[in-house]
């Protein structure tokens, strides 16, 4: 027995064909209404009205107005939604006011106003323009709220991850936020489209002769309201069914729960929306990249597919290996407060080239904030931070640090890779697409080159079998390894790790630390915020202990972890050890 959903799926796919067949049969069966001859039976009359050109023209008009108004409305709505999410109160307020006003006044009056009250001011719009404009302005208010809801439904961390790779706000919106928001946006938007097609009937007051008004005119003349209205209803159903079918197709397209591997060839794939990062993918890569080594070129880092892959990357980024006493990241008197809460109260710290620095400390000590200041995910209040002697997105003017205009470019130029506690993989993109995203979109790498690099990076973190899987199909440890590969794809000069293993099950911690260990061995400069004492002990060149926004003590792992001088450090380490080893 077929399940209900299987039947539904079949009927959904069959719907356009059914409509077409219905129209053909109707057209051939329906006698001409106006012809002289014997009176028609009610069912014949009904069929005749369905194919009556006078009514179909009205339907077409409703569709034309709705299509144009929807395009205008959604465009304006997106703008309004972004304005509503703005940090600027004036921008936010004006968008709110527009939506409040337009949603709060009857659309009939808006149309009459546009059509009849503007001419005395010298603006005389024709009927069609008025209808399109009126419906678009109205739709903008409604779709703005739908789009805003969609954007807010996307986890904030998605945007933070994109930002950390130097993606600008528009790029982030287009590639990361909107594709994920679409799932929440689509049902509401379909409602609006269907509502608008039917709602164009109120525009009869400004001389729009669409389907309902035309059917009323026929009924006004012959009183055959049953057959005429039933026929008009069928025409509306055909139009709205088409919208529902489009909705189903699009929802499938944007549904990340459906494996795209499985979705391929299901009949829905002709819907390609490459704008939103769902472009067609070339055939699956060869199972073993190692067997088909690509020549290592400057653009093709890591493609040698040798075991010392990371060395390849770091060789590129540190042309003078061994020169480890060069200061690479320098913090000078760094201050940061959120409102009245001071998070960092004067941090001075230097990280040398090729050095692995582990930052430890209780939560709330300012460790994560310090990391986010390095690549300018957060702004400094006071002091300065340089990476390889340069500010990231700041200019010093009148002895004050001022953010530069194009922050996204500054972050991209700095080439700082970041790995987050909660992975923050782009949920709608497969593992390989996650890795390719920044090289292609930010650094302008050719997709083929980026794909080869991404495959190599995924192979090196042991995930070549999972390249085409979406993040939610991967375990936490696998996701974090993809995240590391993603950070490495931008050929970083510095890697920031923000508690990379805190969200993992204990048995998955090892695989992530293993990758980090190899990265450290390859000479990558790393700042790692973690509670993993053993990792710090074995891998770190230096351990920095922070508390309440200050560096309390720092030194080699043996000094800080083996013989902590400060009472606060001792207490913290006792706590951490007890957690790790409850026995």
């Amino acid at each position: 027995m077929k399940t209900i959903s299987a039947l539904l799926n079949e009927s959904r796919a069959a719907l356009p064909h059914a409509i077409l067949a219905f129209l053909v049969v109707t057209a051939s069966a329906a006698p001409a209404l106006a012809a002289d001859g014997p009176p028609l039976k009610p069912w014949q009359e009904f069929l005749s009205y369905i194919v009556e050109p006078f009514l179909l023209e009205g339907a077409l008009l409703a569709l034309q107005i709705s299509a144009l108004a929807m395009i205008g409305g959604i465009t304006l709505g997106l703008g309004l939604a972004l304005m509503r999410l703005s940090r600027n109160a004036a921008i936010r307020g004006s968008a709110w006011f527009y939506i409040w006003f337009v949603r709060g006044t009857p659309q009939l009056l808006q149309l009459v106003f546009l059509y009849d009250a503007l001419p005395p001011l010298g603006i005389k719009l024709d009927t069609f323009t008025t209808a399109v404009l009126g419906f678009a302005l109205n739709e903008a208010a409604f779709s703005a709220e739908i789009i805003r809801g969609g954007i807010m439904s996307v986890n904030r961390n998605q945007g933070i991850a994109a930002t950390s790779f130097g993606m600008g706000s528009f790029l982030t919106l287009r590639r990361i936020i909107l594709p994920q928001a679409m799932r929440a946006i689509l049902p509401g938007m379909s409602n609006d489209v269907i509502g608008m097609i039917k709602g164009t009937s109120i525009a009869s007051v400004i001389f729009v002769n669409e389907l309902t008004f035309r059917s009323q005119q026929i009924v006004g003349q012959n009183f055959k309201f049953f057959t005429v209205f039933a026929a008009a209803g069928v025409i509306y159903l055909i139009m709205t069914s088409a919208i529902s079918a489009c909705q189903a197709l699009l929802e499938r397209r944007f549904n990340i729960e459906i494996d795209r591997e499985a979705g391929r060839g299901s009949g829905f794939t002709f819907f390609n929306i490459s704008l939103f990062g769902f472009g067609p993918k070339p055939a699956a890569p060869p199972a073993s990249v190692a067997r088909t080594p690509a020549p290592a070129t400057k653009d093709n880092v890591g493609a040698a597919a040798s075991l010392d892959w990371i060395r390849n990357i770091t060789n590129l980024t540190s042309p003078e290996p061994g020169n480890e006493s060069v200061p690479f990241v320098v913090f000078r008197n760094v201050h940061k407060a959120y409102g009245s809460r001071e998070v960092l109260r004067g941090i001075d710290l230097t990280v040398n080239k090729g050095e692995v620095v582990v930052i430890m400390g209780p939560s709330g000590s300012g460790k994560s904030t310090l990391l986010r200041l390095v690549n300018h995910l957060e702004s400094l209040d006071w002091g300065e931070i340089t990476v390889e002697g340069k500010y990231v997105g700041y200019q010093r003017r009148n002895n004050m640090m001022r953010p530069t205009r194009d922050l996204a470019k500054a972050r991209a130029d700095a080439q700082i890779g970041m790995v987050f506690q909660h992975f923050n993989l782009f949920e709608h993109l497969s593992a390989i697409e996650n890795v390719m995203e920044a090289p292609v979109q930010v650094y302008g790498e050719k997709p083929d080159t980026a794909r080869t690099l991404a495959l190599n990076l995924l192979a090196s973190v042991g995930l070549s079998q999972h390249a085409n899987k979406l993040p939610h199909r991967l375990s936490g440890g696998q996701q974090q390894r993809v995240a590391i590969a993603r950070a490495l794809a931008i050929s970083p000069r510095l890697m920031l790790f923000d508690e990379p293993t805190s969200a993992l099950d204990p048995e998955l911690v090892g695989e992530v630390l293993g990758v980090m260990r190899r990265l450290a061995e390859a000479g990558m400069t790393m700042i790692v915020v973690t509670h993993e004492v053993r990792f710090a002990q074995e891998v770190a060149d230096r351990v920095v202990f922070m508390d309440e926004g200050l560096v309390i003590e720092q030194g080699t792992p043996d000094e800080v972890l083996g013989a902590p001088k400060h009472e606060r450090t001792q207490r913290f380490l006792r706590m951490v050890e007890r957690e790790v080893d409850p026995a």
Binding site: E52, A117, V205, I218, G220, F223, F225
Partner: protein
């Protein structure tokens, strides 16, 4: 009736408040059709295509030709065609919801509304009028008049229906109070949003009587003799007129001349008879500007 909706006035008020005063010009003693002289007789509108607003859903005044839905028929449609053929001016019908027709004239989107519009002094503040018909009310009842409704007083204790916000609705409410003071039962009143909706209340025995324009009632009865009949009729004092752009003297004159000629030549009577409208309801043509 339906034609005097309060909402129309509300919509109209979006337009400009008119300040122009136009004197009422009598029809010239010997009006005749001289289409070639349009440039000298009506210079400001000569050569233009005038837009006439109609709703196309109100037989016998304005409705779609069943043989060709693109074509408009009706007393108002035919009178308009004849009048402007006489003046030598091209016209174009634009159809829209009735309540939007007068606001469009006031805003200058169309030149006139010719669709069973009542003249009222309030409306004359925003548009000018040329009268041509006297309004009358008819009562539509089910075939055989089962509740024996033969005069307004018979409606007490019955189920009545009228268009929302119309003078008919108001008169039923007034009558209902009178019924009670006279010791009769009150009227149970429902309102309908559009005319065909009202007729369906009668056809489906959801209401006993519906009142609206007499000629519409006559038209419903003629088209559906086995369903409806007319209970009674009342000739009211309302003037039905063409409403046109405030201050357009040439247009007013062309309307007045054309209607006068049609009346004198017998053409008007012919059109009235074609659409089963009682010719005794035709009234003197005059321009009303306030």
């Amino acid at each position: 009736m339906f034609r005097s909706k309060g909402s129309l006035l509300a919509l109209s008020s979006l337009g400009i408040a008119a300040t122009l005063l136009v004197n009422a010009t009598p029809a010239s003693a010997e009006a005749k059709c001289e289409p070639d002289k349009v440039a000298t007789k009506y210079p400001s509108i000569a050569g233009k295509t005038l837009k006439i607003g109609q709703d196309g859903e109100s037989p016998p005044y304005s409705y779609r030709d069943p043989k060709d839905f693109k074509n408009l028929l009706g007393l108002d449609a035919d009178l308009a065609r004849e009048t402007f053929a006489c003046a030598g001016i091209k016209i174009e019908f634009v159809t829209g919801g009735w309540s939007g027709l007068l606001p469009a004239v006031i805003a200058g989107q169309t030149d006139m509304m010719w669709d069973t519009l009542y003249y009222t002094p309030k409306r004359a503040e925003q548009a000018d009028f040329v009268t041509y018909l006297t309004a009358a009310t008819g009562a539509l009842v089910a075939k055989g008049n089962p509740k024996a409704i033969k005069a307004m007083e018979d409606v007490c204790g019955k189920r009545a229906t009228a268009g929302l916000g119309t003078v008919e609705e108001a008169s039923f409410r007034e009558l209902s109070k009178k019924c009670e003071t006279d010791g009769k039962k009150e009227i149970s009143l429902v309102t309908y949003p559009d005319m065909p909706g009202g007729t369906r209340l009668i056809a489906n025995d959801r209401a006993d009587v519906m009142t609206t324009d007499l000629n519409m009632v006559n038209s419903f009865v003629k088209d559906n003799p086995s369903t409806f009949e007319r209970g009674f009729m009342i000739v009211s004092d309302y003037k039905i007129a063409v409403g046109y752009t405030k201050g357009n003297k040439d247009l007013g004159q062309a309307l007045l001349d054309g209607l006068t000629v049609l009346k004198e030549s017998g053409k008007m009577k012919e059109i009235f008879e074609k659409y089963n409208v009682d010719y005794s309801l035709a009234r003197a043509n005059e321009i009303l500007t306030k």
